[in-house]
């Protein structure tokens, strides 16, 4: 029996596994037993997972280090997997959590259509900072907290990539 510590969507799960046949495994998570069976093998693996109430197809991509990208119902569930060792868990080789601090980043690529604040301006939580247009939608980017606008890194009309820093708040 092997045990793994899995991180998905900022939640941690402990999964223990037992191979039950060729390409077949029995997994236990929170006391619930799941049967997993590989249904096709390639760059992307197909799995069928079931327990009493759920029966789903999933796709998985085994990535370097401790990462696995899982897709279920056309939605991504990026996971990190650590084998549970003696005396505790392995330290993850890469943390997927993003520490953004007071930086506001673009959640999606798009274009800055207007900037609603100035540097040094005091803002309250939820105050609109700028408008990011993506896929025809005007998205109001708001301040995550009370504070002062430190630096504005973009200008009106600029096209920004996903995750690029837009504004810093202190």
């Amino acid at each position: 029996m092997k045990s793994f510590r899995i991180q998905v969507n900022d939640e941690s799960y402990t999964v223990s596994l037992e191979q039950s046949g060729r390409g077949r495994y029995q997994a236990t998570l929170d006391g619930i037993i799941f049967d997993a069976e590989i249904t096709s093998n390639g760059d992307i693996t197909s799995w069928r997972v079931s327990n009493g109430s759920e029966d789903v197809h999933a796709k998985a991509m085994n990535l370097p280090n401790d990462r696995v990208d899982v897709w279920l119902a056309c939605m991504p569930f990026p996971a990190t997997v650590q084998t549970v060792g003696i005396g505790g868990y392995h330290v993850p080789t890469e943390s997927r959590a993003k520490s953004v601090g007071g930086e506001i980043r673009a959640l999606m690529p798009g274009r800055i259509t207007s900037i609603l604040v100035k540097e040094e301006e005091d803002v309250i939580e939820g105050a609109p900072l700028l408008i990011l247009e993506a896929m025809k939608m005007q998205n109001e980017i708001t301040s995550p907290s009370n504070g002062k606008v430190k630096t504005i890194f973009v200008h009106e009309g600029e096209t920004v990539k996903k995750d690029s820093v837009l504004v810093s708040i202190e």
């Binding site: 799960y13 495994y25 590989i38 093998n41 056309c74 996971a79 207007s114 025809k136």
Partner: protein, 495 residues
Amino acid sequence: MKLFIANRGEIALRIIRTCRRLGVRTVLAYSEADRESLPMRYADERYPLNGSMPAETYLNVSKLAQGAVETRCDAVHPGYGFLSEDPRFVEECEGNGLTFVGPSSRTLAKLGNKLQARSVMKECGVPLIPGSDGPLGSEDEAVELATRIGFPVIIKAVYGGGGRGMRIAKDADEVMRFFRLTRLEAASAFGRGDIYIEKRLAAPRHIEIQAVADRRGKIVSLGERECSIQRRHQKLVEEAPSVALDADLRKKLTDVALKGLRASDYTNAGTVEFLVDRNREFYFLEVNKRLQVEHLVTELTTRVDIVEEQLNVAAGDSLSISQNEVEVVGWAINCRINAEDPRRGFIPTPGTVIHYHPPTGPGVRIDAALYSGCAIPEYYDSLIAKLATRGTTRDETIRRMRVALEETEIIGVPTTVPLHVELMRDDSFVSGEFDTTFLDGFVPHLNSRIATYAKLAAVVAAVEKARSPKSWGIERHRKQSTWRAAARTRAITGS
């Protein structure tokens, strides 16, 4: 006829499919971002628009009309969105001797924007939702009117369409804020920033009548569609017929819809949208003067190819069908699959689809322009696929949808599929008891579905890491390429 297609993605492909069947030659306008899109493979000719931003491509009136003239087309199909309801584009086409596949500029002069449509319908005796008679000049004017008719109100773009350019305001503060945002969005998406206000009704259903009319005075209703499953005025699920109509109410809606369209000398495909409240009172909402996204559910229940009828009308021919030949058979449901992340407030998620496997089988139709490796550009709408099923009963149609959703494989961009999975299992949806506010309360259900998926994903992640590469028989079998094996056999046998 040679047809210029001033649109992209799945709807461009949808139009091309009918044209290929009918032997109509097509020219597809394309932006740089769409150079490798699926419809590019099937259009007879392609016309480059240079650039990728909507304003310089699919919203560029003169560039598109010029393209149609240069490629010697007779007609222009605008699809939906973009310039499909823009009177300037219709005039530009007509001025260049091109037939616009849609209503004429004469009709648009009467029905061109949402405010004009309100006054036409009012004259035909159709009840209107309380609101503006003309465009609002300023935030202050908007606040004044909103206070008079009562909150909440909906701020709408006069030239808007497709649910874009609309926001609900609960108080005067929100009117001030959203007025400016909606105006910006409208100016960018529809080319004009005019704004008006309507009162927001409590929990109505959205029901619309699809019609087609030719230039010889024949007008035919193709029945209703129920489109109450909406998020921020974006329809997500549509069906035909509607559980909320009986024969009497259906006849009333159909009669006033056709009357309104006749009063504006309407030609080509058009839809009259209504809100129907709990007391079965109905109010005029809008006229959609184009082929709609959800037209496929009507095609599935009536067996009419609406694009073909549009082309008949554009060619000056009569409709190929009469009212007494239209029969609504069975049920159809459409799920809009958008590249949006349900975990992050449905933000659009452009990117690359690295793997695509569409569902199929009896009663399944998918309208999409996807292939493994295709790009979802950030410049355009997030709709990437329409999955529709058809059945004898609504229940059978829902069951078929569940199966089809399970078979759908789209990997690379997050999508709205989990929402549809949960919706198709939801008791209220299945029993037909819902209205346009239904999805607002649905997020907890969706979150619990996603939490269930996260657990299953954890199991998959573990088995994927744990499995040995040789754990399955197919691996060894695959090591030798079948093409290489065939080549070797051919070399040995000389065949």
